[in-house]
Amino acid sequence: MKPSAVDAVIRGLKKAGVSIVCYLPDSLFKELYPALDADPDIRTIRVTNEGEGAAICGGVFLSGKRAALVMENSGLRASVEPLARMGLGAGIPVVMLMSYRGELGENNWWAIPHGITMEPVLNALRIPYRIVTEEEKIERAIAEAFSWSYSAYYHSAVALGGSVVR
């Protein structure tokens, strides 16, 4: 990611009032994670899998603070169980920011499943999402995902793809 795209993500998170980010690092966002770690206004929590991160974000919601789950889109699959329980069972929302692995242009065979499953899994969970491939749309997409999730009390997602991450 270019430094300007990293800045746009952090601006979006701050605009949305996020003070805690749970993440499991990946390669497409590799420049983002140290920038989040270094930001004095954001506490980062590194997790062992994304489902655990989703559950921690759910707990942060209950505290009145705002959290985001940042991950590769493969982490969506690891998060399905807590997302379904918290979102559909209790109305506890999690806002996710994920890198779009496996989209057209992907050159790693192992990332193909991530692209094929991302949208069907989001649709199965009825999670609205926006795929952002232009840097100038990042900040607004993140802020709008939070607006929606705090109206619906349900999960939402922003996937960053194209030249934003490659």
Binding site: I56, V60, S63, G89, A90, G91
Partner: protein
């Protein structure tokens, strides 16, 4: 040792704390064992994310003591949270793991701890939660409650309880959504904050 007796001992020590709990009969037992904590308890039906949610709540409300009432099945479902708690060292999180060595709510098939080889407290210590213990009597358990509620680092107690459920207890009628609203309104009231506020007029 009966889980209900342990719950009553813990309940006596609680007033301002927030509690997140797991699934199955332990939910109805806590509802009866700690009637004064009903609004302050998030009743869930979840396997594997109770202590993670409790940690998130502890991170968001660092001045408030958070109690996680987890289970052997739930903790084994997501052991990674122990490593995250071990690394993050929340100073306000007390974790109880009700270990009845079975999936009691579906009739009692054994969990991994029934073998006698799997020790959740030892796993927790290995994950960096150094204050992790196993209690086999109510007195021992109560001592850990006293310590865990005052500790300045994460404290975990595995309560080895029987697979029986307290008879004739009142069943909770609310679902997860109603429980969330009750809990959130309690947090809003006691913290003087807004979590689920009014819609905009536009």
């Amino acid at each position: 040792m009966k889980r209900f007796d342990c719950m009553k001992a813990l309940a006596c020590r609680l007033s301002d704390e927030l509690v997140i709990l797991s699934l199955g009969a332990s939910v109805d037992e806590w509802y009866n064992a700690a009637p004064h904590m009903r609004d302050a308890s998030l009743f869930q039906q979840q396997l594997g994310c109770v202590s993670a949610q409790a940690f998130g709540l502890a991170a968001g409300l660092p001045h408030r003591r958070i109690v996680s009432l987890d289970t052997d099945g739930g903790m084994m479902f997501n052991l990674g949270i122990l490593a995250t708690i071990g690394n993050e060292q929340p100073h306000n999180l007390f974790i109880v793991v009700w270990d009845n060595e079975c999936y009691q709510s579906i009739g009692g098939p054994p969990t991994h701890t029934a073998s006698g080889r799997v020790d959740i407290a030892a796993i927790a210590r290995g994950a960096g939660v150094t204050r992790a213990y196993t209690a086999r009597t109510v007195e021992e358990f109560d001592g850990h409650c006293a310590e865990g509620l005052a500790a300045q680092e994460p404290h975990l107690v595995v309560a080895k309880v029987s697979g029986t459920v307290q008879p004739d207890i009142k069943r909770k009628h609310s679902d997860g959504r109603e429980d969330k609203y009750i809990f959130v309104r309690h947090v809003e009231r006691t913290e003087n904050i807004v979590i689920m506020g009014p819609s905009e007029h536009n």
